[in-house]
């Protein structure tokens, strides 16, 4: 199993706002959340790759993450072209 290799990320979760809909436990591709009774619990915060799926699918905005593609090529191309937000589709558009 290959996991995120960096020591920090921007994932933040406020369990007070959780409605217990389980969406974050369903959409996370790295099992960062787990349902614990009525609410979700952040069990593997370090594995977060900041894809943003949990934040987008959280109906009560309990999760925030500065999401985006973890792609050096996209970031460097964006920097060279002077674009702000790098996106996928690195071949000819």
């Amino acid at each position: 199993m290959m996991r995120n290799v960096y020591d920090f990320n921007t994932l933040q979760y406020d369990s007070q706002l959780c409605s217990g809909c389980r969406m974050c436990t369903i959409v996370c591709p790295h099992q960062v959340f787990e349902q614990n009774g009525k609410i979700a619990e952040l069990i593997h915060p370090k594995d977060c790759m900041e894809c943003g799926a949990c934040q987008l699918n959280c109906p009560t905005d309990a999760i925030t993450v500065d999401s985006g593609v973890g792609c050096a090529k996209a970031m460097m191309i964006a920097a060279v072209k002077g674009k702000k937000e790098p996106t996928c589709g690195c071949a000819r558009p």
Partner: protein, 335 residues
């Protein structure tokens, strides 16, 4: 076709779960980055088998590899497939890039007249589309309930039995085969830089340096993805430096042996130049591989670029300067 009887307006294209030789050829070309953005299917509503008003509706992107992976795993099933316009990009990247989005899904539900075609307003989406689609917003705007299926289409038959995905089905993997199959695109993208750098190195240093260029780039595009989990350092750049350093060692040795009667400063300079230029090439390719993996975060990659890209640039440039200086020194001493 009975599907079309449900609605006079809905235009439904028939498809099958059969993968033909033509499909396989298309997949092969896509894997080698040939016409990279041209592997598309027409967005819209498709029928597989003989679906009725209570059949499942699966949603996919219009990249042939995505659409074909889905339909190939829906054998002996009567269902609908709603294909979004993801510009020929796969589900996960399209979701991250804003093409596989809530807006596109809502819009495609409307333009295909899906509410008139099916009675049960439930859509099964691939789990990895969740970074582009807000399920509760789709419900609010269209009344359709979004259900996230497993990560991989091959788990769909198992998923459909209980409409539940196991932890394993919900987790992305990056196994040896997953990494191997990506090397085609990596190789294809490396051809032009390889030729350019190889020719430059040949003219400023000779055949051995050109061969080392090929080896360093090959290490980055093929060996690095394959060996990724076993390279012992924490991040991509240092893994790349390490791998590039190992790969260049035989060339360093050959360089010394080939110039056994050369002055000490020339041999030392050559070794230094090799150790600066080639590992930085491999490390740069390794850093660029972050986007192909299934687990790197944006903030992490950003910090890695800021930390290691300047190191790579300095190593590469100073190595090239030393190489040119040595070539000039040799030229003037010999003549």
């Amino acid at each position: 076709m009975n599907a079309q009887n449900n609605s006079s307006q809905a235009h439904i294209r028939p498809t099958t779960s059969k993968i033909t030789f033509k499909n396989r050829w298309d997949h092969f070309l896509a894997r080698w980055a040939f016409n990279r953005m041209g592997h598309r299917v027409e967005p819209g509503l498709y029928s597989l088998g003989h679906p009725a008003a209570d059949s499942h509706v699966f949603v996919s992107g219009n990249y042939t590899l995505s659409f074909d992976a889905l339909r190939a795993n829906l054998t002996r099933l009567d269902c609908y497939i709603l294909v979004l316009n993801t510009k020929g990009i796969n589900v996960w990247c399209a979701a991250g890039g804003g093409h596989f989005s809530t807006d596109e899904l809502v819009n495609r539900i409307e333009t295909t007249h899906l509410p008139e075609v099916v009675k049960r307003h439930v859509l099964i989406l691939p789990q990895l589309s969740a970074s582009g689609v807000a399920a509760h917003d789709v419900k609010k705007q269209t009344g359709f309930r979004v259900e996230y299926g497993p990560v991989r289409a091959k788990d769909l038959p198992e998923y459909l039995k209980a409409r539940k995905a196991t932890k394993e089905m919900r987790t992305v993997s990056f196994a040896l085969y997953d990494r191997l199959i990506l090397t085609g695109v990596e190789i294809a993208h490396a051809v032009i830089p390889l030729v350019v750098l190889g020719v430059i190195m040949f003219f400023i240093s000779g055949l051995l340096a050109a061969a080392a260029t090929v080896a360093a780039i090959f290490a980055g595009v093929v060996l690095f993805p394959l060996l990724l989990p076993w390279l012992p350092t924490p991040n991509f750049s240092t893994k790349g430096f390490l791998l590039g350093g190992i790969v260049v060692l035989p060339f360093v040795l050959l360089r010394c042996l080939g110039a056994a009667d050369a002055e000490f400063w020339w041999r030392a300079g050559s070794i230094l130049a090799y150790l600066l230029v080639f590992p930085s090439m491999t490390a740069f390719i390794a850093l660029n591989f972050t986007g192909s993996t299934t687990f790197t975060s944006r903030s992490g990659v950003k910090s890695e670029i800021f930390t290691y890209f300047p190191v790579m640039a300095w190593m590469f440039c100073s190595g090239i300067v030393i190489t040119i200086a040595l070539a000039l020194a040799r030229f003037f001493i010999d003549s």
